[in-house]
């Protein structure tokens, strides 16, 4: 973050350019940023609720699953987008970086920030929906700012490292979508954590997204807060947040020579 000092204005302008490029660039513009997540939501709802009949203990019925799906999927989509796009953030801006003096961290950081936008909109709509159906639990909402902060730390740390890694090893960009897809199915988003078989209970311990999504469920839907998830999340924040920044600093000086 120290690198960004004195460059806040440029950072802000760069975020604006990223948003313009993302939401105003293509023909459909804003429409696609609504259609794509909506399509995913409908698809998962159809497969997992209507066909596979996945049920949530705390929230019975199809509607209950629908809310559960949204509470996990909305932050997940932002995490996945933040990771996938920040990994390519430096490679995409090769020309810009080669010829200007600008802190490299700005590029992945921008993507992480802009990916939060759709999450804010999504969570706002979800809370509105819960309010209308009379299911809004305010008891856990105080957790949201903490979770958002933790999420930014984890995604930014991982994103910074992935960004400099993929400069040296382009394969990272090919492998990453597979990894995020794996993480998606290892995280209780389209199923409740109670459905994970006993023999596979170690999986959540290795998945940084698990405690995050678990706590989002608790915060948005008023479920009991799992203390183990809090500890796990704190662990990942330290490891990925600080470790990521450390690795980024280590590899960063060689980026300019490589381009």
């Amino acid at each position: 973050m120290r690198e960004l000092k004195g460059r806040q204005h440029f950072f802000l302008m760069w975020i604006q350019r990223d948003l313009r490029g993302r939401y105003l660039g293509s023909m459909g513009g804003l429409a696609w940023s609504v259609v794509t997540p909506l399509f995913n939501i409908v698809l998962y709802y159809f497969v997992f609720s209507l066909i596979l009949r996945v049920r949530i203990e705390e929230l019975p019925g199809d509607l209950g699953f629908f809310f559960y799906l949204l509470a996990g999927l909305i932050p997940w989509m932002s995490v996945a987008e933040g990771l996938n796009r920040s990994a390519g953030a430096l490679v995409e801006q090769e020309e810009f970086i080669k010829k200007t003096v600008v802190p490299l961290a700005i590029f992945p950081a921008t993507v992480v920030v802009t990916s939060l936008l759709q999450q804010f909109v999504g969570m706002g709509l979800l809370m509105l929906l819960l309010l209308v159906t009379g299911q809004l639990e305010i008891s856990g909402l105080y957790l949201l700012p903490v979770l958002l902060l933790a999420q930014v730390f984890v995604v930014l740390g991982a994103g910074l490292t992935l960004a400099v890694l993929s400069v040296h090893l382009r394969d990272v960009l090919q492998v990453l979508p597979l990894v995020t897809q794996l993480l998606f199915y290892c995280t209780p988003i389209v199923y409740p954590s109670t459905m994970i078989p006993e023999a596979m209970s170690w999986i959540p311990l290795l998945n940084p997204a698990y405690p995050l999504i678990d706590l989002y469920h608790a915060a948005l839907l008023g479920f009991d807060i799992n203390v183990q998830s809090l500890w796990l999340l704190a662990f990942w924040v330290l490891l990925l947040g600080f470790g990521g920044v450390f690795l980024f600093r280590l590899i960063q000086p060689s980026v300019e020579d490589y381009f």
């Binding site: 760069w14 313009r20 003096v101 040296h168 090893l169 060689s254």
Partner: protein, 422 residues
């Protein structure tokens, strides 16, 4: 930013700077090298042991062949590259004119690009509108154009905006890498004037160019880089002269080996570039003045092609003005028939240059009393330049062949005044 005391520290200081690039067989090797010490790579040394200091307000030139490390040096000072060894210290804000069009996004409008690049150059939110006005004015693009995506621009329009953005900076140190020839004639001159104003305005300028004419005109000191090392550094004339003789020796050496006509032509091209600015007059674009007629006059003032040594000769240049307010200078070069330069001069080389303008004079005579040229065949070139002597409005090259006959028995091309003593 407060002015620093120039006696305290130089504006730019390089101490034993080296830059080496490692090239790896596989990309993964480079990554591995960050964590272990026994990797496979080939080291390419771009700079080695370069030390120099540039004083506040100085215009410092960088010359050398392709691949000598000039661009690496500029990048290090600009801060886009980090030295492998040694230290680079720059005092004050640096702006670099390394390549035009850097950072432009084709899908964004001219206006959006200017705002973003302004922020990149450190323009704050409060000054931004003012900054945009200035940039737009310099680029001479209309509001309508500036609100269109940059990808719809013509090359000329794009270059104008890019140059306006690049030079609308107020750095303490400006790094320029031959970005002079852009756009049409009118804009080329504007760009050159902009760079001149940086040099005259007390800014520290680091200027790299192949164009030795411009180096001579702009720089007070020069460094000559050769294969990443400092070959010579010091007063412009001294270093440039050494570099020129090196270049000439080199191209002659190549000619002996190959001896082809093409090489000879190439050499002449290279030599031409040393004498006059590279900004050749645009054939289609508007130029405010053209050469109408050139005459060589003998001692009686009659146009001729045959001259005698030690008789008076004059070169008359007549100009045609399309804009009579144009101020100008005229340069003349005399060559041997193999295009080896004998002598060249210009009105702007005079100690007190006359103010020449289309309103007062459209004819100029260079009179050469007692022509000190010996027997042989000769050619001339004539240039019309702008008031700075850097920008070419029009040129007539290698024209008007003439012969000179010497009644005496002296050898060579030029008569050197002498006397024998005993």
């Amino acid at each position: 930013m407060a002015r620093r005391n120039p006696l305290l520290a130089p504006a730019v200081q390089l101490t034993e700077v080296a830059k080496a690039y490692r090239s790896y067989e596989r990309p993964a090797d480079r990554l591995w090298d960050l964590f272990s010490r026994n990797s496979r790579f080939v080291v390419h040394r771009a700079l080695e042991g370069v030390s120099l200091s540039i004083q506040d307000g100085e215009t410092f030139g960088v010359i050398g062949e392709n691949g000598a490390g000039k661009s690496t040096l500029l990048k290090l000072v600009a801060g886009t590259s980090i030295p492998t060894q040694g230290a680079v210290a720059v005092h004050g804000r640096v702006a670099a004119l390394l390549e035009l069009g850097t950072g432009f996004h084709p899908a964004e409008t001219g206006r959006q690009n200017v705002y973003l690049l302004g922020a990149l150059n450190g323009v704050g939110p409060k000054d931004m509108d003012n900054y945009f006005q200035q940039t737009a004015a310099f680029s001479e693009l209309s509001d309508d154009v500036l609100n269109r995506p940059v990808k719809t621009y013509s090359t000329g329009m794009f270059m104008r905006l890019a140059f306006a953005v690049a030079t609308n900076v107020s750095p303490d140190v400006l790094v320029i890498d031959e970005a002079l020839s852009v756009g049409d004639m009118h804009f080329q001159k504007k760009s050159l004037d902009r760079i001149m104003s940086f040099c005259d305005g007390g800014k520290t300028v680091l200027f790299c160019s192949h164009n030795l004419y411009q180096i001579r005109a702009l720089c007070s000191r020069v460094v000559w880089l050769h294969r990443g090392q400092v070959m010579a550094m010091g007063e412009t004339e001294e270093v440039v002269a050494r570099y020129e003789s090196y270049e000439q020796k080199k191209s002659k050496g190549q000619m002996k080996v190959k001896g082809g006509k093409a090489e000879k032509e190439a050499e002449k091209e290279a030599e031409k570039e040393m004498v006059v600015p590279e900004t050749a007059p645009g054939q289609q674009t508007f130029t405010p003045v053209r050469i109408r007629e050139i005459d060589l006059l003998d001692e009686e003032g009659i146009p001729s092609e045959k001259f005698k040594s030690f008789s008076d000769m004059a070169i008359r240049v007549r100009l045609k003005f399309f804009d009579s307010h144009t101020t100008y200078h005229v340069g003349v070069i005399i060559y041997r028939s193999d295009r080896e330069r004998i002598f060249g001069t210009g009105t702007h080389f005079e100690e007190h240059p006359a103010h020449l303008s289309g309103e007062t004079k459209d004819e100029l005579i260079l009179s050469i009393p007692r022509l000190p040229i010996l027997s042989g065949d000769y050619l001339i070139s004539v240039f019309v330049l702008d008031e700075t002597g850097l920008h070419v409005y029009d040129q007539a090259e290698y024209v008007h062949p003439f012969t000179v006959r010497n009644a005496g028995r002296e050898l060579g091309s030029v008569y050197i005044p002498h006397e024998w003593k005993s």
